[in-house]
Symmetry: C2
Subunit: 360 residues, 2 copies
DNA sequence: CTTTTTTGTGAGACCGGTCTCAAGTGCGAG
DNA sequence: CTCGCACTTGAGACCGGTCTCACAAAAAAG
């Protein structure tokens, strides 16, 4: 606590004095409410200009109760998925004169909790969250201001939510692989799971991950592939160890002949690992990833992707939230945006040389 | 103005009443200032817990004058360059318990002005800006709170600034091209210029762009290339028309045999255009770009890049700004971070088939 | 055992706006 | 000519904290 530099700002009272009217009157014209005569209005405006008056939004928020900003908690803005979504949010917010306070959770619940606490203390009017874990959401249930969920749904939480049809997308993508003859198909995600996956969907942290896995497994079942659960790989976030794990996966004799990646960051890592292992796409291995990241179209071969309307995702949650802030109180909406698969060149038929079938 | 839903929040007075002490005392323990006896402190804390008291940061900011948040105005968070820098900023900010209010200028001064006005009204403690234009900075000069510049310096503005050694980087990269024998080298940037470039450095909007062009021209001069100014192409932002312009450039008989791109977004567009024109890198054309974006290492061939320490760039400005917020008042610092060139496979020698020299 | 210092607590002003309420003004209707 | 009503304006409370100041009680000093 140093001495507050305290830039002596011009207040309503100052303007009032200058314009020789009461504080209340000056406040009325400056705040744009109530009724004021033309002459007085002009006088106040002139005084304000002369004094270079700037309203203090904080003080305004104090009494009105609305701060004019919303909090946005995402996993990681560095991830192009989130940065694009945030772009969508902030574009919409700006149109409504609302500010965006950004917070990174780093996909950790504790950071998420703390961020939400701070944001709430700052009296944000609303909150957009990408919940890091669906298991630990007590802090979300406690929130009293409008809340909207981005990309990840929470069945227990009946609030405005915008997601994409993850399950169906995974289903179609996986089908594309099975129809090309693949039987050893892996699903690789950065998400972490406490313990191994043994069909315990309930233990999967986020709805997005769960839905995708469900779609993946369904396609495998359709194709008569058994034990597909064993081919789900968690924790492939960006780290050297994760990269090493991927390499081991690829060097294994019974390595998958096709892979579905959960996001573009994981996919890029995979792409590099595949090359490092001397394998070729799509001859040795086929690859499909979620998110039409910019790089996927310029690789050799270009990668087949599940294109999610990311910008619209952000735009939509923001619209939903802001509508709510304006007083709309129809029941919470759950919007599921469609995805499309952009077929490029990364899917080939099952390589014959590694046709040692491990199932069926 | 609907009726304010007015969630009746628990205030210091409520806690005081519950704990049977004065408002002042309750405020002391809740606010963590002044001296209070152990017993009373315990009582207040208990009352606070019982009532589930949450401090109102806004009210606190009112009196203290500091809001605990900083404003960040960037060109476009969607651009991986900015999103990474913002990540750096927000990581540092969080460590100091400071929030980040994000605003997109879309590289337009008017939007930048308006964003700054709003941020200031919200009483941000400090501001980090990536000025869209160095010509129009009156609004920046007026700012009274601590201000720091990110990625773009403003000679007229003596404030904390963190940039990279753009000029030297461009010089070295261009040299790499001239030494490979290239003479028709183009510099392509998304920045816009009012009118054509005729050596009028002063009319270039941002320091970053100017420095790079200066470095580019210097290398050309060293190599005895004349009229290099004519090979500077502005306005190649992401738009269909910009893409068409690039294609025209590449289809031209006297097309450049090497190109230096100012950022990864432009470079990606260029890469696609080059492919669409049936040209090959590096046989027909060499390419170097600023920013080691993720895609540059996975293309065929991988692209030689000027690697900027983007995360550190953000981290550093944030540190500078926060240090200032804490009362440090040594003279403004201008940090210039070094860049390194990552040589990959996109630079080849001048193609012989198109060796119709247009100069020297 | 007094005097001085330290410590704990309460009362109330204050930050910069909003907003309620009452009083003052002017004008048309009766 | 008077009454009523719509329109302006001013006074002051209020939002939820912080902080200054005065005062009482306890501790240290003389």
């Amino acid at each position: 606590m140093k001495r507050p530099p305290k830039a002596p700002s011009v207040t309503v009272s100052d303007v009032a004095r200058e314009a020789k009217v009461s504080k209340a009157t000056a406040a009325r014209v400056l705040g744009g409410y109530g009724r004021v005569s033309k002459t007085v209005r002009a006088a106040v405006l002139e005084a304000a200009k002369a004094l270079d008056y700037r309203p203090n939004e904080l003080a305004r928020s104090m009494t009105t109760g609305r701060s004019g900003s919303i909090g946005v908690v995402v996993g990681d803005i560095e991830n192009p998925f989130f940065s694009l979504a945030v772009r969508g949010i902030s574009d919409v917010a700006r149109l409504s004169g609302i500010n965006v306070i950004l917070a990174n959770s780093g996909e950790e619940v504790e950071a998420e909790k703390s961020a939400i606490r701070v944001l709430l203390a700052k009296q944000v009017d609303g909150l957009i969250v990408t919940p890091a874990q669906s298991g630990d959401i007590a802090h979300l249930k406690e929130i009293t201001c409008p809340l909207a969920l981005l990309d990840r749904a929470l069945p227990e939480l009946d609030v405005d939510t915008v997601t994409v049809d993850d399950r169906n997308a995974a289903l179609r993508a996986t089908r594309m692989l099975t129809q090309a003859g693949h039987r050893r198909i892996a699903y690789v995600t950065a998400a972490v799971l406490s313990g191994d996956f043994r069909g315990a969907e309930s233990r999967i942290n986020t709805s997005t991950v769960r839905e995708r896995i469900l779609g993946f497994l369904e396609a495998c079942r359709e194709a008569g592939i058994e034990g597909a659960e064993r081919n789900i790989h968690f924790g492939s976030g960006r780290s050297d160890s994760a990269h090493a794990v991927l390499q081991r996966l690829l060097r294994n004799a019974g390595r998958p002949t096709a892979i579905l990646a959960s996001d573009s960051v994981v996919a890029l890592d995979l792409f590099k690992a595949i090359r490092e292992c001397g394998l070729s796409i799509p001859n040795d291995i086929s690859l499909i990833t979620f998110h039409d990241a910019d790089w996927t179209s310029v690789t050799t071969p270009p990668i087949t992707v599940i294109d999610q309307p990311v910008y619209v995702l952000g735009k939509s949650v923001a619209e939903l939230l802001i509508r709510r802030l304006k007083g709309d109180d129809r029941p919470p909406e759950r919007i599921v945006l469609p995805t499309t698969i952009i077929e490029r060149m990364s899917v080939g038929s099952r390589p014959s040389q590694s046709g040692n079938r491990s199932d069926s």
